[in-house]
C-alpha cells in the first residue's frame, strides 16, 4: 500500500469513495486512481459481451490454485420503477448498452447484472412462466426478521476500480455524459434509485476498512484476508458453476436468479472470545480444527475448503451431538454431486459504518438458495440438544440478516424492463 500525502492509503480512499458515492466521490476517486486518462481502461464492444448477464467467470483472473478472483469493488443499486415498461424499455436498454461500450467486460473494466423482483413482474397482467422460481423474499430462519427489498430491479456493478463502479452508477443516474471517453445515457425519469449497497472483497481491503462498528478496536482482521471473518471463501470447489445456476428453458433460458441479503456482522465475539480452534470449527468443520487443516486464512487449502474431501457433511449430525457444527460443513449438505448449487458473488461492506456482508448469490431457482440456507441454519441439528439456534452452530452467532430480496436476472437480450413472457 502506498500512503498518500494525507495519510490515507489509496485502497482505503477508493473504498470510502465507493461507499459514499456521487459525483464528488467519483471525481476524487478518479484522481486517486490516477485519472481517467492515466488509467487508460479498455472500452467495450457490446457484441463481445456474453448472452448470459452472469457470465463473469471467463473474464476473471484465477489465482495460483485455480480459484476465480472476484472484482474488488462492488455496488448493488436498488431501483424503483414507476412507468410504462413498453415506453421506457428502449431507454433502459440504451443505458445498459452504453455501459458495455464504455468499459470492456472484464474486472479491469465493468461486469454487471440486472435483476427484476417479484413485485416488478406483478405489474403485468401475465405472470412468469412456471419454470421460473421467483417467490417474494421471506424470513429463512425462525430467529430472523428481515425487511423484504421493495425495489423493482437491482443492478450489481463490479470492477477492480472504484472509479468504474462509481462512474457506471453516475451514468445510470444520468449524471455524466461520458464515461471512459465514451458517450453514455442514463436510465429514464421513471426510474429512481432507492438504495445503494456498496462494498469490496479481496486481500487487504477488509483489514484496511475494519474501523467500523461490529469489529473490535484491536484490528483483528488479517491483512491477507479477503473478507472480514478472516478466511478465504471463494474456493473453486465451493462454488456452483455458471452452468449450474443458469435457467435452462423457457423465455428466460440463459438467465439466473439472484438473492441479495444484507447481513450485519458483530465480530467482537468471533475475534475476541474464540480461539483459532473454535473459529476453524465454526467456520469450516470440527474436523478441520481437530486436525489443524487451516493455516492462516486457509490459502493452504488450495481450491477447496476440504469439506467434501473429509466427509464433513456426513458427520454433521454426529458433530452436533458432540457440541459444535461448522458453517461450511452444514451448507455443504445442500450440494448436488459434491458441488454447491449456488454461486456466491458476495462482498463485505462498511455501509452504515457497520461491518456488513452483502450476500449476493446466483442460482437457477430461488429454492436452491433456500435449500442451502436451510442447511446452513442447521435447525435440524439444533434439535440434537447441544447445538443451539445460533451458538455452536456455524457462524450464525455473529450475524443478523437485515433484509432479503429475490431477483430474476434475465438473459442479456431481455435485460431491459422485460415482460413476464418476453419473446
Amino acid at each position: 500500500m502506498n500512503p498518500t500525502s494525507d495519510g490515507l492509503s489509496r485502497r482505503d480512499f477508493v473504498k470510502a469513495a465507493v461507499a459514499i458515492g456521487g459525483s464528488a466521490a467519483l471525481s476524487a476517486c478518479l484522481d486517486r486512481e490516477g485519472g481517467e486518462e492515466a488509467l487508460d481502461l479498455p472500452t467495450g464492444d457490446p457484441a463481445a459481451v456474453p448472452d448470459r448477464q452472469h457470465a463473469w467467470n471467463d473474464a476473471l483472473a484465477t489465482d495460483d490454485h485455480g480459484n476465480d478472483v472476484p472484482p474488488r469493488h462492488h455496488v448493488l443499486g436498488l431501483f424503483a420503477f414507476d412507468g410504462d415498461p413498453d415506453a421506457d424499455r428502449g431507454a433502459v436498454a440504451d443505458a445498459f448498452r452504453s455501459l458495455e461500450r464504455a468499459y470492456a467486460w472484464q474486472p479491469e473494466g465493468l461486469l454487471f447484472t440486472v435483476g427484476y423482483s417479484p413485485a416488478y413482474f406483478q405489474g403485468f397482467d401475465a405472470s412468469l412462466p412456471d419454470s421460473i422460481d421467483l417467490p417474494e423474499p421471506r424470513a429463512l430462519a425462525p430467529f430472523e426478521d428481515p425487511d423484504p427489498d421493495s425495489a423493482a430491479f437491482a443492478v450489481h456493478l463490479a470492477s477492480d476500480y472504484g472509479s468504474v463502479v462509481l462512474g457506471a452508477e453516475e451514468a445510470l443516474r444520468g449524471q455524466v455524459e461520458k464515461l471512459n471517453g465514451v458517450s453514455v445515457t442514463g436510465l429514464p425519469d421513471s426510474v429512481e434509485r432507492i438504495e445503494r449497497r456498496t462494498g469490496f472483497i479481496g486481500e487487504g481491503l477488509p483489514a484496511e476498512n475494519q474501523d467500523v462498528a461490529g469489529i473490535p478496536d484491536s484490528e483483528p482482521v488479517d491483512e491477507d484476508a479477503p473478507l472480514y471473518m478472516g478466511f478465504e471463501s471463494g474456493f473453486e470447489k465451493s462454488q456452483a458453476t455458471e452452468d449450474r445456476v443458469t435457467i435452462e428453458e423457457g423465455p428466460f433460458a440463459g438467465g439466473t436468479t439472484l438473492h441479495a441479503s444484507k447481513i450485519r456482522l458483530d465480530l467482537t465475539q468471533w475475534y475476541e472470545q474464540n480461539d483459532d480452534y473454535v473459529r476453524e470449527a465454526e467456520m469450516f468443520c470440527p474436523f478441520h480444527a481437530e486436525e489443524d487443516i487451516v493455516e492462516g486464512t486457509g490459502e493452504n487449502m488450495g481450491n477447496s475448503n476440504q469439506i467434501e474431501e473429509h466427509g464433513c457433511p456426513a458427520h454433521a449430525s454426529e458433530d452436533a451431538e458432540s457440541g459444535v457444527v461448522g458453517h461450511a460443513q452444514k451448507a455443504a449438505r445442500a450440494r448436488e454431486d459434491g458441488r454447491p448449487i449456488i454461486l456466491r458473488r458476495d462482498f463485505d461492506s462498511t455501509d452504515g459504518d457497520r461491518a456488513t456482508v452483502h450476500f449476493v448469490a446466483l442460482q437457477e431457482a430461488i429454492e436452491d438458495f433456500v435449500a442451502t440456507r436451510t442447511m446452513m441454519n442447521g435447525t435440524d441439528l439444533a434439535g440434537e440438544g447441544a447445538v443451539r439456534q445460533r451458538s455452536n452452530n456455524g457462524i450464525l452467532q455473529y450475524m443478523t440478516v437485515e433484509s432479503r430480496g429475490n431477483y430474476l436476472v434475465p438473459p442479456r437480450d431481455h435485460r431491459a424492463l422485460p415482460t413476464p413472457r418476453p419473446e
Binding site: 459514499i20 425462525p142 473490535p216 480452534y277 451431538e321 458432540s322 459504518d353 440438544g385 447445538v387 451458538s391
Partner: protein, 356 residues
C-alpha cells in the same frame, strides 16, 4: 480511515454527521482492575470462585408470556464451551459491564435457558451497540441467563432492546404451545459508574477453591431458575447419579405431558449443578433402559422445558419397573458458557448407570 476523514478530504463533510461515533471510544476500564487471579489448582468440579459479585437491576419488560429482567454487573471472565473444550474469555480494557438478560415464562415462572437473545443499546439517540447476541450462561449466584461483557458509553440512560425467541427447546405441560413466537421489549437502563462501583464485590479468600458453590442470589423480581428439589418434583424420582460433578436425576411421570407425542410413561432425566440445582442445558443425552438383560428402550433424550420438572431431557417409554437399569450416555456436556467456578466441571462426562 474513517468516513469523516474521507468526507473532509472530499469537501462534502456537511452532508453527513459523524455523531454517535465518538462515545464509543470513551470507556471505563478501572472496574476490571479488581479481578483477583483465578484460583490455583482448580478441581475438575464445581468450586467456590475467587470472588462473588452482586448485580444491579436495570429494568424489566414483558411481551406476551415472555418476561425479561435486565441486570448488569462488573465485566468478568467467562468460558465458552465447544464440545469438551472450554476457552477462557478475558475482560478487555474496553469492557465496562457484564450485561445480563434473564428470561422466563410469566404464567409459570419457568426460567428459559435456550433461545436467541439479542440486545441493542441506544443512548441519546446514538447506537452504542447493535444486535449483540448474548451467550447462554451459567453463574453460581445468577443461575442461567444470557450475557456478555459490553462496552457502554458512560453514565446515562440507555434504551436497551431485547429481541428474543422463538424457544427451540420442546415445551411441555403448561408450556406446551407457548414460547414459539419471537418477543421484543425495550428497557430503559440508567447506568452510572458510581452505582456499578457500589455493587457488592467480595473476595472469597477463605472459601475459594473448595468444592462448594456460592449461594443463589436473592432477587425479588427475577426467578432464580433453580430446579425443584427431588421431593418437590412431580411423578416418581427413580434414581440419582453423578457425572462430571453434575447430578443426574431420573424421574418418571405416569402420563405423558402435553406437548410431547406418544403414550406410556414419560422418562425425564435432569442434569443439574450440585449445591444450587441449576439446570445444565445443551447436552446430548441418550438412554438405554434394560430389564432382565433385555433392552426395552434405546433412544435419544429430547431437551424439554416443563414448568414443574424444569429444563430436562425426556423420552416416552412403555413403562419402568423396579430392578430396571437405566444407562444415560453423554454425547456432549452442557454447551453453555460458564462463569467462574463452573468452568472445570461438567466436562469429559462419563456415562451414568442408574439402578431403578
Amino acid at each position: 480511515m474513517n468516513r469523516r476523514r474521507f468526507l473532509t478530504a472530499t469537501g462534502t463533510a456537511g452532508a453527513l454527521s459523524a455523531a454517535g461515533c465518538l462515545g464509543l471510544f470513551e470507556t471505563e476500564t478501572q472496574s476490571t482492575g479488581r479481578l483477583p487471579p483465578l484460583v490455583e489448582d482448580r478441581p475438575d468440579a464445581v468450586y467456590v470462585p475467587s470472588h462473588v459479585e452482586g448485580m444491579e437491576m436495570a429494568g424489566m419488560g414483558t411481551d406476551g408470556r415472555y418476561k425479561f429482567g435486565l441486570t448488569y454487573s462488573f465485566p468478568h471472565r467467562f468460558w465458552r464451551t465447544t464440545g469438551d473444550r472450554t476457552n477462557k474469555v478475558g475482560v478487555r480494557d474496553a469492557d465496562t459491564a457484564h450485561l445480563m438478560v434473564t428470561a422466563w415464562d410469566s404464567d409459570t415462572g419457568t426460567v428459559i435457558p435456550s433461545s436467541s437473545a439479542t440486545v441493542t443499546a441506544v443512548k441519546d439517540g446514538d447506537s452504542v451497540f447493535s444486535e449483540k447476541k448474548l451467550w447462554s450462561m451459567l453463574s453460581q449466584n445468577m443461575g442461567v441467563h444470557f450475557g456478555d461483557n459490553v462496552e457502554l458509553d458512560g453514565d446515562g440512560t440507555y434504551e436497551v432492546t431485547i429481541d428474543f425467541g422463538p424457544v427451540g427447546t420442546r415445551r411441555a405441560g403448561a408450556l406446551a404451545g407457548a414460547l414459539g413466537d419471537t418477543a421484543s421489549v425495550t428497557v430503559e437502563m440508567d447506568f452510572s459508574q458510581s452505582t456499578l462501583d457500589e455493587v457488592m464485590f467480595e473476595q472469597l479468600d477463605d472459601r475459594k477453591g473448595q468444592r462448594d458453590a456460592v449461594e443463589p442470589m436473592e432477587m425479588e423480581m427475577i426467578p432464580s431458575g433453580q430446579l425443584p428439589t427431588a421431593e418437590d418434583r412431580p411423578g416418581e424420582v427413580l434414581a440419582e447419579g453423578e457425572s462430571g460433578d453434575a447430578v443426574i436425576l431420573a424421574t418418571a411421570l405416569d402420563t405423558v405431558p402435553d406437548g410431547v407425542d406418544g403414550d406410556g410413561t414419560y422418562l425425564a432425566v435432569s442434569a443439574q449443578t450440585p449445591h444450587n440445582r441449576y439446570p445444565l442445558p445443551f447436552m446430548s443425552l441418550s438412554a438405554t433402559l434394560t430389564r432382565d438383560s433385555e433392552t426395552v428402550f434405546d433412544g435419544d433424550l429430547t431437551d424439554t422445558l416443563h414448568p414443574e420438572l424444569g429444563y430436562h431431557y425426556g423420552a416416552v417409554i412403555d413403562d419402568v419397573q423396579s430392578g430396571d437399569t437405566l444407562d444415560v450416555a453423554v454425547g456432549a456436556p452442557p454447551q453453555i458458557a460458564r462463569h467462574e467456578g463452573y468452568e472445570t466441571a461438567f466436562l469429559g462426562m462419563d456415562d451414568v448407570t442408574l439402578s431403578l
